[in-house]
């Protein structure tokens, strides 16, 4: 299939019975949507389940969808709703995840990796780990905003969430400050190297 088809063209092909069009929609958006959901729930299995639900729902309702140009917005809005539904249903078990510590960084796992340059990988992994650890310490709202920013402009997010753009901008700036504080506290080596 032509990779350059617009979302609107894909939706219209789908409505005309072209099953490849739906596969193309899945392939086009799966990584973006999955990364977004994962940023909120922090659990790959849960995120996979929600993502699967999402695309099956899209498949079942796409034929009556009339705003072809806003497919991406629709996908992310639905992703958010399904994720929040999931939290509501599993609130007791899942809410504490927000501040739960992630698994310990395992030195052994890294060394046994078949990498050509173990030391370099070790350093890169430690740094990546520190940054992901810091991102994981953000509140759910902050993580979500950061993830949405990879797919939408601030103006688009403001329109989707019906919030003033100024609110989102302040929140984003606050989030950066918080990340800096977290890195200073939890990963002084990264802080000293990059943020001093």
């Amino acid at each position: 299939m032509d990779k350059k088809l617009t979302d609107a063209q894909l939706v219209s092909r789908f409505k005309n019975g072209d099953s490849k069009a739906f596969e193309e929609i899945v392939l086009r958006y799966q990584a973006h949507v999955y990364t977004y959901i994962l940023s909120i729930v922090k659990n790959p299995d849960t995120a996979s389940d929600i993502c699967q639900d999402l695309f099956v729902k899209i498949f079942r309702t796409l034929h009556k969808y009339n705003e072809e140009n806003k497919l991406k917005n629709w996908l992310f809005t639905l992703a958010r709703n399904l994720t929040m539904d999931y939290f509501r249903k599993n609130s007791k078990r899942l809410v504490p995840l927000e501040n739960q510590d992630e698994d310990e960084f395992s030195l052994l796992d890294t060394i046994s990796d078949n990498s050509p340059s173990p030391l370099k990988v070790l350093i890169e992994n430690a740094q990546k780990e520190a940054i992901n650890d810091a991102l994981g310490k953000l509140s759910m709202d902050e993580r979500e905003l950061v993830a949405l920013k990879d797919n939408f402009t601030f103006a688009e997010i403001a329109a989707m969430q019906k919030k003033p753009i100024g609110t989102l901008l302040s929140k984003f700036s606050r989030t950066l400050k918080k990340l800096r504080r977290i890195l200073a506290q939890r990963s002084p080596e990264v802080y000293n190297e990059y943020l001093q």
């Binding site: 799966q30 996979s48 993502c51 979500e144 950066l176 890195l183």
Partner: protein
């Protein structure tokens, strides 16, 4: 309005040319904004978009299509799409803790890191899908 508020728009290139000029002049004299730029760039070094595990994509295709799908065709399609994705969307915050050193299946089938010359690796991993290959015929 306080010009510091424009910082996030500056970081994501969502300012007009005129506003960028204005913001850069501000940046030269604002330690708070300088720190924020530094933090943003540090975090951005580890930006990454994660792909859904291959078996989940297969499940989605299976649930939305009556046609049986060859795993080989799917792998080819995904590899192509992964390469395109890597070219175009290699910027995404990882807002969760990834553990790339843990070679669990999920990461193993993770699509985005697959580079052009790694078809052999894919075929090795796909041999683990033998049951499915039989099923999908």
């Amino acid at each position: 309005m306080n010009i510091c508020n424009n910082l996030p728009l500056y970081l994501y290139s969502e300012l007009s040319e005129e506003e960028v000029k204005e913001f850069k002049q501000h940046l030269a004299f604002c330690p708070a904004c300088q720190r924020a730029v530094l933090t943003f760039n540090t975090i951005a070094q580890d930006k990454e978009v994660q792909s859904l595990p291959l078996n989940v994509i297969m499940d989605i295709f299976e649930k939305t299509s009556r046609k049986k799908k060859s795993i080989w065709n799917l792998a080819k399609t995904l590899r192509l799409s992964g390469a395109l994705a890597a070219a175009g969307i290699a910027v995404g915050f990882v807002v969760f803790s990834t553990q790339p050193h843990k070679a669990d299946l999920r990461n193993y089938y993770n699509i985005s890191p697959i580079a052009g010359s790694e078809l052999e690796e894919i075929s090795a991993s796909i041999s683990e899908f033998e049951g499915l290959v039989t099923y999908y015929g």
